[in-house]
Amino acid sequence: MTIETKLTRRTLLAGAGGLAAGGLAVGGLARPAIAATKTFTIGVCGVMSGAAASWGLTNKYCSLATAAMWNAKGGFEIGGQKYHIEVAAVDDQNDPKLSVAGIQRLTQQDGLHYIIGPNVDTTAVADVPDLNKAGAMNIPYAFSKWLYTKPRENSILGMIASYQAGPIIYSYLMKAKGVKSVAFLAANASDPLAQMKEGVAAARKLGLKITSSSETYEPSTTDFFPVMAKIVHGKPDLIVLSGVAPAAAPQLLRAARQLGFKGLLSTETAQDIKILVQGAGKDAEGFISVGGASTPAIRSAYMDDFVKEYAKVAGAWNDEAGTKVYALEMVLRTLAVAGPKAITDVKPFQTAMAGFSIPNPFLKARSPLKYVGTAYFGQKRQIGVPLVVNEVKGGKFETLFVGSVS
């Protein structure tokens, strides 16, 4: 029997009719549930393609995972009403023009008031006028202090900035490992260069000898041997890879070790252990980086659930997400305090931020999670993400210490 004889007009019509009836039935059944739950949509705008794709995609996957976890419980409650959480994501390709277009789409077309991202200073700064115009707030992963200082009030730094983590890490390494000299290396791009500049200033203040303060490599570099050779020949105790992208970190580590470097290597950006071990093998041992709530030793059962949900959404867990898990959770929990009016008006949200404090749901320690940043920005415009400093040991991240910027 051939397929043609099976697919008669009658069977096709019957099939179409059946599908339509089924669809109506499902729609009819589903409608009462939808009517009982309102929808809250969070925007995500960041780099989701190209070499830095992991930064923005991690934001998106974190939001999707958080949304899925709350939706599985029937939604998130704000002012006695359950809200189904949805995520609207835009890829800005790290291009300020596309980022502005993305913010315009999310705020003007979709009418959103809360956006996670973007990922770098150039895009974050470009987005400010449109965010202000739309009366929307965002949580960038960009370190420029300008974004978070008055008269700007609509941006909240989503993680620990390099100028906050750097001095704490260097100081720890001076005391714990006897570090006396340091070399800095960064990609020749605005964010890593700014982070290197701030790192150099912090190291000088601490009295460290600086053997290299301006060495850079092009973001398109695939072979780091030549640039690392110069750094290693300065014989520093510590090499700081300022703002290093997770894609470049393994090769830089491997190049340093193959060039005979025996000292310490660190960065103030979040990394993924699988990427480090896969790309650098045993050369990743001892590498110090900033983490989030990702090491099993410190994370809560709620964070364990998040890790599983993230793996479902993204295909695999990424340690970078340990620093980005906080954004949507903080938006939702602050909205719960501020009330439903804050969903479309950010003023009550901003007011609620001042006194907001909950036990950190992602850490076993349950230390207070609040908005911080007054010392750096003159106002609370930073999520109080704990400063978790990790070291690679035996192919795994081990938490060296947990600090706080507040």
Partner: protein
Amino acid sequence: MLAVRPVPLAQGVPMTQALVDGCVLSANYALIALGITLIFSIMNLLNFAHGQMLMIGGFMVYYVYGVFHLPFALGLLAAALVLGLIGAGFERFLFRRVLRVATREENSMLLAVGTALLLENVALFLFGEKQRGVPETVSGVVQFAGAFLPYQRLEVFLVALVLILGLLYFVQYTRPGRAMRALAQDRDAARLMGVNVDRTAMMGFAIGAGLAGLAGGLLVTVQGVNAGIGTDISIKAFIMIMIGGAGVVGGAILGAVVLGFAESIGYAYLPGSLTYLLIFLALILFLVIRPRGIMGHPWG
């Protein structure tokens, strides 16, 4: 405030290290540039998807060698074959028709950009956003005259050299290679001389794409791979063929050597940010003086 002594130029990097790095970089770059120049010479088409093809070759080796733990050579073979098939498919079903019916060069260029975006997004969908790496096929470092050379980089250098020489032999001394050269010189004359133009063009595209796959597969051992590396690699390949002369195999190799040594010596003896600034400045000046590149004439 602590006074910081300015770091002297050179910082003690031995010249041998810069030269060794230059040799390895040149061989890597030559392998990347050869595929793109082969396609350009035969079809007069700048393959914007070359970097993305290289990226897919890297992922092939990642899965065959890194995930399924099959022999590395099998991974290279798979990369060359899969990319060869993709290249042949692109030529047969996309570029052949567009090049035949289009009245403006922009059409084929836009199609090439489209294929690059397509491959990048397919890779992002299939392989995810993460950087991937594979274990070294050979470990250890040899040190001589103050220079360090990991065996892995030495292996990549030697295999790249063999592949480059193999390609040069193929285009110079074999019948299909001669047909490709004839096509590059004059398409109509080649057809009149009995060359099957469509088949030769498809073969050229497949070999160019296969070379990208091989390069990606080989380099994944030292550089790793992620879905977003394609565009940067294509840009470097364009720089090399602009220096050497578009569509000239010898020019691509020369361009790779110039860029490889400029990068290694620049990074060793200049402040880092100056290296590529000077490379681009030199490239602009060079193109003003000699827009066709060093060897800017067709084969033969």
